[in-house]
Symmetry: C2
Subunit: 325 residues, 2 copies
């Protein structure tokens, strides 16, 4: 038995192989997986391919690549029905569950966003990200850079690009869960900022019942004005909201303060029980916790005219191995 | 007492006036309302301004325009808290309620989408829309065209543009409600089409808990391939899903057939009780009804490189006054 995350990748890989009319190699599969939002490298693809071979779903043709077997086709058509459409909340909850960063020992995983930037643009982009960090617009001042030939971690990097891992605001959800506090991500949205202070959400999209990450939808719409907000104090930035039981608010506050000391920052406040928090509705008996997302730094990069492609809430990564950016 | 729809516009108009440092005229307000997704004309703006004057929220300065009063400012700041962030579902449910088209007499209102196209592009756009209609990709073959100087209906038309009203798929929700069947719009999504037949949703966004129309989000992402679907039978088109109680399925089917005879078409099927319909989840005891949206015609126009701006689920319009396009 493998975990559901592996199963999802296996199905996606079979789908890629079945869509080709000739054998497909691991490199091409990694490329295509990347296009479909999976940040896994060639080495990991090989590992998954071996599982598929063992199950008799794919067949290896020497060095040319793999084709799908009849048995694989049957498996794929069965899998498609349940797997075809994945709601983003399942994926997010899986990563929340896998967050095991320990605020006391400093060991364990946080959730990261992965951003791909052209190698030639990277220095300029890095300057903007550092500027965003200096403005307190990121979750952490730590990040990880992956170059094409990077082997230390299995992050896929397309040719000519650099992958940047930054701490994702959903890490807070993981930390809350690890503290024994039940947590539900509610909305991703656009926060109006006035005089450098968050004023209220002007748009919200629920994490529930969407197959596309809400923050990604706002990024694609080019709806932010992060650079302008830094300059003038007024503008629109990305933020999200989660809710926890009102009774857990004191414990959550304690945890969030401890996280801040460990360089995991960005929550705006803890709301009142059952009350809207910055106009975002919260369930009865719950309190809302809005957080400015780490993606704001990337939004600023895009606003500056630099092309970047971001996979929000992408994977988990050991926080200790991320470096001061 | 005015209806909530009027109240919403009043607040928006006050907001526009308060954001300007000099008096603002009706024309400018109509322009700005249009930018914010309200398709109301100058004449209607004047009507709303008179209400605001009467309430003492705005003050008229001859022909120069209006400014906001202290009382208006106070009212606005109170209204902002509840009005600031409107979830799209409230707006849609209001229009569903206002749909009163009678399938027997042929009288009454349907819901329309409004699309703005540059005057110079309109002939080319119209050809594509007619092509889409011939492919059965719209809800109806009827439409209404509004030119700049149009006075017959209070649809706002910016200078140099033409506004096109096409029947919106949410009209079905209105017809179902009018037949006494409780209906909930569930998702807007991207439907994969194979061999000219819908195969299944590949992306879904819930109508619940978003302040931006899901169909508009997909349009903005340029995620469709409507023209390709017409040509090859394979591609991605816009569709949405609503659910009704399973017990009402026979009555709904009857109504949908009657609607088809009145040139209001486009439902794909009625699903099985509690079962996913084209991979879209449906609640227990309910059946899902997917409908290809009328916006597909506009998506095709945009795919052809013609700029168009669409307000989905925009307003209601008497169906009898819409003409064969």
């Amino acid at each position: 038995m493998t975990d559901p995350n592996v199963e999802r990748k296996l199905v996606e890989i079979m789908r890629i192989i079945s869509e080709s009319d000739k054998p497909v190699g691991a490199r091409l599969i990694a490329d295509e997986l990347h296009n479909r939002g999976y940040a896994i490298g060639e080495r990991a693809v090989r590992y998954h391919l071996r599982i598929l071979d063992e199950r008799g779903f794919t067949k290896k043709h020497g060095y040319i690549g793999r084709t799908i077997t009849e048995r694989g086709k049957k498996e794929l058509s069965d899998a498609l029905i349940s797997d075809r459409l994945g709601f983003i909340i399942s994926r997010i909850e899986e990563l929340i569950y896998r967050t095991d960063y320990d605020l006391n020992t400093g060991k364990g995983n946080v959730i990261v966003n992965i951003t791909y930037i052209d190698k030639d643009d990277f220095d300029n982009a890095a300057d903007i990200i550092r500027y965003a960090m200096s403005q307190g617009a990121t979750i952490s001042s730590k990040a990880s850079i992956f170059e094409e030939d990077s082997t230390e971690f299995d992050i896929y990097v397309p040719e000519g690009q650099v992958a940047l891992a930054t701490v994702c605001s959903i890490t807070f959800d993981g930390l809350l869960l690890k503290s024994g506090i039940p947590v539900s991500p509610l909305y991703g949205g656009l926060m109006q900022v006035e005089n450098h202070e968050p004023e209220g959400f002007v748009d919200l999209i629920s994490y529930n019942g969407t197959s596309i990450d809400p923050i990604k939808l706002f990024l694609r719409r080019k709806a932010t004005s992060v650079l302008q907000t830094f300059d003038t104090g007024t503008g629109k930035m990305l933020a999200n909201v989660r809710e926890i039981p009102a009774a857990a608010a004191p414990k959550a506050l304690e945890m969030l303060e401890l996280a801040g000391k460990a360089d995991i920052k960005g929550h705006i406040c803890i709301g009142e029980p059952g009350a809207e928090v910055f106009y975002a509705p919260v369930s009865r008996g719950m309190v809302g916790i809005p957080v400015m997302t780490g993606i704001n730094a990337v939004a600023a990069v895009e606003e500056a005219g630099i092309r970047a492609e971001t996979l929000p809430v992408s994977t988990v990564m050991e926080f200790r191995r991320m470096k001061e950016f």
